[in-house]
Point group: C2
Chain length 353, copies 2
Amino acid sequence: MDVARAAQVSRQTVSNVVNRPYRVAPQTLERVTAEILRLGFRPNLAARSLRQERANALGVELHAGSGRRMGDIRDVFLVELTIASRQHDSHLVPFAAADFEHPLPAYEDLVASKLVDAFVLTDTRHDDPRPAWLRDHGVPFASFGRVWDEPEFSWWVDVDGATGVADGVRHLLENGYSRIGFLGWPAGSPIGDDRRSGWVEATTDAGVFVPAWRADALGELGAAAAAAAPLIEAIGPGGTLVCASDVMALGAWTVLRERGLTPGADFGLVGFDDSDLAESFGLTSLRQPLTDVAENLLSILEHARLGGNLPTQGTVFRPTVVARNSTNPLGAPAAPATGGTSAGNRTSSGGST
Amino acid sequence: MDVARAAQVSRQTVSNVVNRPYRVAPQTLERVTAEILRLGFRPNLAARSLRQERANALGVELHAGSGRRMGDIRDVFLVELTIASRQHDSHLVPFAAADFEHPLPAYEDLVASKLVDAFVLTDTRHDDPRPAWLRDHGVPFASFGRVWDEPEFSWWVDVDGATGVADGVRHLLENGYSRIGFLGWPAGSPIGDDRRSGWVEATTDAGVFVPAWRADALGELGAAAAAAAPLIEAIGPGGTLVCASDVMALGAWTVLRERGLTPGADFGLVGFDDSDLAESFGLTSLRQPLTDVAENLLSILEHARLGGNLPTQGTVFRPTVVARNSTNPLGAPAAPATGGTSAGNRTSSGGST
DNA sequence: TAGCGCTTTATGAACGATCAAATGAACGTT
DNA sequence: AACGTTCATTTGATCGTTCATAAAGCGCTA
């Protein structure tokens, strides 16, 4: 090894400098470090991986099928996960199952070839075969989203939809609105039910709960608009709608505009996910703290390896309200604005429950 | 090695079975293959990578800063790249530069630690330091998007915006529209100028070019709506707009809806990129053939390694028109529909020029 | 001063694959 | 029967690091 010769130490000492500097005498450390910098030395990760029998890499499945892409946030989530993984001295290996109905072979490949040593799961669902398979094969994993079928499994992180929506409701109340409806998905989906419950709770607390001010639709914009129309009628001008997603909020947005109403000034709107859409349309939305989620997932997996303190139950993060013109009652410009609080994309707010 | 012992051959023969099956006698091949399957053997990729001095991995930078995320298509592009890389026996390593204004250290890290042996660049721009650095360090790379500063560099793949927009214009003509305007970005951006030229060309060919039916705006929805309003006024009902992006088309869309006009029936709209937005709003759009782009990039890099025939000039793919209600003159439902040709997300159309 | 303990550095082996070269087997040619 | 060729398979070395362990240095105590 070049560095070793240049610094007149053994290769093992160089290894120690890189991996356990505290074991090395100060002046040796300095001398070797100087040579490392001078020669631009970086450990060959393949060799390290081979010797340590550990890849320092995480598999992340990218579902190719339409839908199942985490709303619009997958792109941002991947960025956050990428950044977080670097801080944990590892990297991501994205992959897609050849047949996305049967993902296990892809997981098996990655594990058997030792290309990754853990996974981050997303889009978990009932009857998801992955958690059981990974558990049975002793492969560590952490999930963004609850793992429904394994109640005792606690290495998951999720976003508190109920509290998020409740915060959205309170944001509306603070801005002077008081007639607050909810546009969500039909009962039965865990995420949808969670978000709706936040509306029930927060409006009840404030004494403004009106059960009739609720409608359901499935994801599509058209369906959302159709469901929103009578609701907007019923709630009336000066009212508001909190929606289970940004797309749904946009459905309501289009209804408002067709009636000549200005979102914000005439009728408040809150979306969910803070997707690019929300920024484009000046839509107030609930941003998921994906930076925290990613960091937490990585942290769990690191502790799983090194034996730190692991969560005994799932972790839930709270979204933050990103206020834009659609909840500004003071008459924002008719055209959607440049995008309210659009400063940095990365936030680090949100606490656990 | 277990497989070797089980099949009673040497470890090298197992290696040959995996990597050069044609060198192995048929019955030996069969016997070893059977054992490989039975034992679920997969080569340890770290060991292979160490010995071959090659990672079989591609670095892909994910720009974290807002903007610079390839419109809305990065997510889809990453999926396509992931799938393509698997077919080329390699995998992706996504990364983000700590300081996205100075990306080189991140590239240097990956190269020096031999974690990747090539890169796919995106979002190349003038004065991009990356191409020169990679060239100077002998690191192979291919780019999605032209590499402006190095005219002799030909390992890039791009999408033919002009032809795409021209196809959009022809699609409108075929559907019976004849008054066709263009909403784009201010002159000076290569991509914007390219797309606009397709409008000029195709309308001129058809004898329906009206220079005044053009407006410019910058990316934001509000600005696009503001620019679209007078243009829609000028072109009049029954007219159409081809737009440089889906978001701009949506700006026009909102203007139409506010005036009680139905996109398609009353006024045609064509967007660009076929993002999720387009599907949600039933907006006809131009889909970039990302499957082809990804495959081509991987193919270039593979040939670069093995010495196949390499492109002597950049490759340009043609987008495809995805027809939806916004260009259906026969009066589509007022609410945006479930999404026209929304079948599979992966297409393989598009030829090179 | 011998012996002990602690810190610091060095040595040999190993991780699991592929490379380069050698060996063995089969076959036709002279 | 000896020889060269080709095909199939094996052998030993090697990639660059870290592990396990040994050795060296050094101060302190008995």
